[in-house]
């Protein structure tokens, strides 16, 4: 969890029992969670889980059937202008006006919020490294360049909440790396709350502090990335002098199905907290231990585990 000082502060974004029904279908079912300034929150879920729908409701593009959403304390329903003023966002693809240049697109958005100077526009262009191409029409841009322009328009007005729906889509490795660093800086230095949804789970692992998993419109858990990975059945790989004997010992004394990989290595499926118990047992049994490595599951393994390996519902 976030530290106490932050937890006590007002959340940057708060969802309260948010539901969305379209026709008879419940697309979002009673979603509640808080996101704080200074953290990167990953919104994770299989295709069609309702990530984009949730983001649309946060930015007021869709009405919620029930519940409310507050941005820096302002209800998006009751106090739209004050609430949305805090937000910069990309919703799904960053669709810009193709017949305008990148620069004209930014001018267009800058005119809609008071107090954006020309310097700020140039600053943002530099930030996403589009200086060389900014006066070309957007129809001549590549997907990655459009994505960069999308990030630029989201940042123009110094938002305190940044929402990016699949921002790495189309970016090259360098672009992803830069974006990750930039988001990191924004959250740490300017205390911006950042919500990212992505299909690239390994990306989320590197980018996010906390992760919320959504499936079939329901939130099935909010955890820090580390907890998320370490929780559940993780594995340790232990190097010993006699693998076969060690595996047998663990089986007999702890009733854990250890697998010996080769003569000197065994793998023990065990929760994080119980690793010392396993080590103790081996030591007591006079088995020599050369190394203990926690084989952390990737976010992907854990994700498939949590969502039951099913993708589209």
């Amino acid at each position: 969890m976030a530290n106490n000082a932050e937890a006590a502060a007002q959340p940057a974004v708060r969802l309260e029992h948010v539901s969305k029904k379209i026709g008879r279908k419940t697309i979002i079912d009673d979603l509640s969670f808080d996101i704080y300034g200074g953290e990167v929150f990953g919104f994770l879920g299989p295709n069609g889980a309702g990530k984009t729908t949730t983001i649309r409701m946060i930015v007021g593009l869709m009405r919620m059937t029930q519940g409310n959403i507050y941005i820096q304390g302002h209800s998006i329903k009751g106090d739209f202008k004050q609430a949305i003023r805090q937000v910069g966002a990309i919703v799904e693809n960053p669709e810009m006006y193709k017949f305008l240049t990148g620069y004209q697109n930014l001018i267009h958005y800058a005119r809609m919020i008071p107090g954006i100077s020309k310097e700020r526009i140039l600053e943002v262009i530099k930030l996403v490294e589009l200086q060389g191409r900014i006066h070309e029409k957007v129809k001549h841009y590549s997907l990655g360049m459009r994505q960069r322009l999308g990030v630029a328009q989201a940042l123009l007005h110094h938002p305190s909440v940044l929402i990016l729906d699949e921002p790495t889509n189309g970016l090259d490795p360098q672009g992803i790396h830069d974006l990750r660093n930039y988001l990191h800086n924004l959250s740490r230095e300017e205390h911006v709350a950042i919500i990212v949804s992505s299909h690239l789970l390994s990306e989320m692992q590197l980018m996010c502090d906390r992760i919320g998993i959504i499936q079939k419109g329901k939130l099935i858990g909010v955890e820090t990335v580390n907890d998320f990975i370490e929780k559940g059945s993780s594995k340790v790989r232990i190097q010993v002098d006699d693998g076969r004997l060690a595996a047998q010992t663990v089986k007999d004394k702890l009733a854990i199905d250890a697998v010996f990989i080769d003569d000197t290595t065994l793998e023990v499926p065990v929760e994080h907290e119980k690793i010392p118990v396993v080590v103790d047992t081996l030591v007591v049994s006079k088995i020599k231990i050369y190394s203990v490595i926690a084989v952390a599951k990737s976010l992907e393994d854990r994700f498939l585990e949590v969502t039951g390996g099913k993708s589209v519902e």
């Binding site: 649309r56 593009l61 810009m96 305008l100 004209q104 267009h108 005119r111 809609m112």
Partner: protein
């Protein structure tokens, strides 16, 4: 409110930066030029007639005969009566009709015909402005700003009407310039004869031309608003353009066919053509200018309200 100026600047940028806006302007100027050249050089300009009084008396005899034989068709009868009355007035007041086309005729005809073209252009502009952002998905980034959807829609509507104004000014200046170059700037003081319920009086051409613009624009204004309504409700530019142009074109035929029914006077398109009151041939006899204006106002409020409600309330799924 300074924000609203920014919104108008944005919408203007999106209208005029599209290549279609340039194409429309070129077509408009091209049509004016073509019309002028065809009228000037397509047929021989008639010579000044020294015996014009005799000619008019002769004409009126023919017209009288036709009028006597006429039964039923009110519009033609009215036209004949008007011609006869004006010819008489000319003879009595010694006002020689100018031979062939003048700058004034040209401007009046240009307004009458090309405002229809401007209507079509503005229908395209307003429909594209409102609906295309749903097709391209740009609506999402447009609506997540601290601006109400009402303001966005209003800026789109007003900028489309400003486009009309730009077209009208272009039409006015171009037709005046071309009319003057081709038919001479002279005759500025020539009288404009108005036939009003059996009497003829003199008026100025400038006034007549302004009046022509104004009356023609009523129809334009209503069809453009109708297009905006369809675009807001269905979020489909093609549908809005097609449907509005079709109703605009088809309505005059349909309305004439339905003229004998009492309820037709409540149909929008029976009331958009206000020139029916200047020519003295309203679609139904009991209709008056005030009645038409009231009907138009009711439709207008309805269009604006429904279009606004749909635009501001519905979810953005684009």
């Amino acid at each position: 409110m300074s924000n609203f100026v920014g919104l108008l600047q944005n919408e203007n940028m999106k209208i005029y930066r599209r290549s279609s806006a340039k194409v429309m302007m070129i077509i408009l100027l091209g049509l004016i030029l073509a019309a002028g050249l065809i009228i000037r050089f397509g047929s021989d300009q008639p010579k000044s007639d020294p015996h014009w009084k005799q000619t008019l008396i002769q004409d009126n005899k023919v017209n009288q005969k036709q009028l006597a034989q006429m039964k039923g068709n009110k519009q033609v009868a009215n036209y004949l009566k008007k011609t006869i009355a004006i010819n008489k007035y000319r003879i009595e007041h010694n006002l020689k009709p100018s031979p062939g086309e003048t700058i004034w005729n040209f401007m009046e005809d240009a307004a009458g015909n090309l405002i229809l073209v401007i209507s079509v252009f503005t229908i395209i502009v307003v429909s594209t402005s409102i609906a295309s952002e749903f097709d391209t998905g740009t609506i999402k980034l447009l609506l997540i700003r601290p601006i109400y959807r009402t303001e966005i829609l209003l800026s789109k509507y007003i900028s489309a009407l400003l486009f009309t104004v730009v077209c009208l000014i272009t039409l006015f200046i171009a037709s005046w310039l071309l009319g003057g170059l081709l038919f001479g700037f002279g005759g500025v003081n020539e009288a404009h004869l108005v036939y009003d319920h059996g009497t003829v009086y003199q008026s100025s051409w400038t006034l007549a031309i302004w009046k022509g613009y104004l009356l023609n624009c009523v129809s334009l204004f209503m069809t453009v608003t109708f297009a905006g309504l369809i675009a807001s409700v269905f979020r489909n530019g093609g549908l809005a353009i097609g449907l509005s142009i079709f109703t605009m074109m088809a309505s005059s035929i349909v309305i004439t066919l339905l003229g004998r029914y009492d309820w037709v006077k409540y149909v929008l398109f029976a009331n958009t053509d206000l020139t029916q009151y200047t020519t003295g041939t309203p679609i139904r006899d009991e209709m008056t200018l005030g009645f038409s204006l009231a009907v138009l106002a009711v439709y207008y409020i309805l269009f604006i309200f429904i279009g606004w409600a749909f635009y501001t309330r519905r979810d953005i799924k684009a």
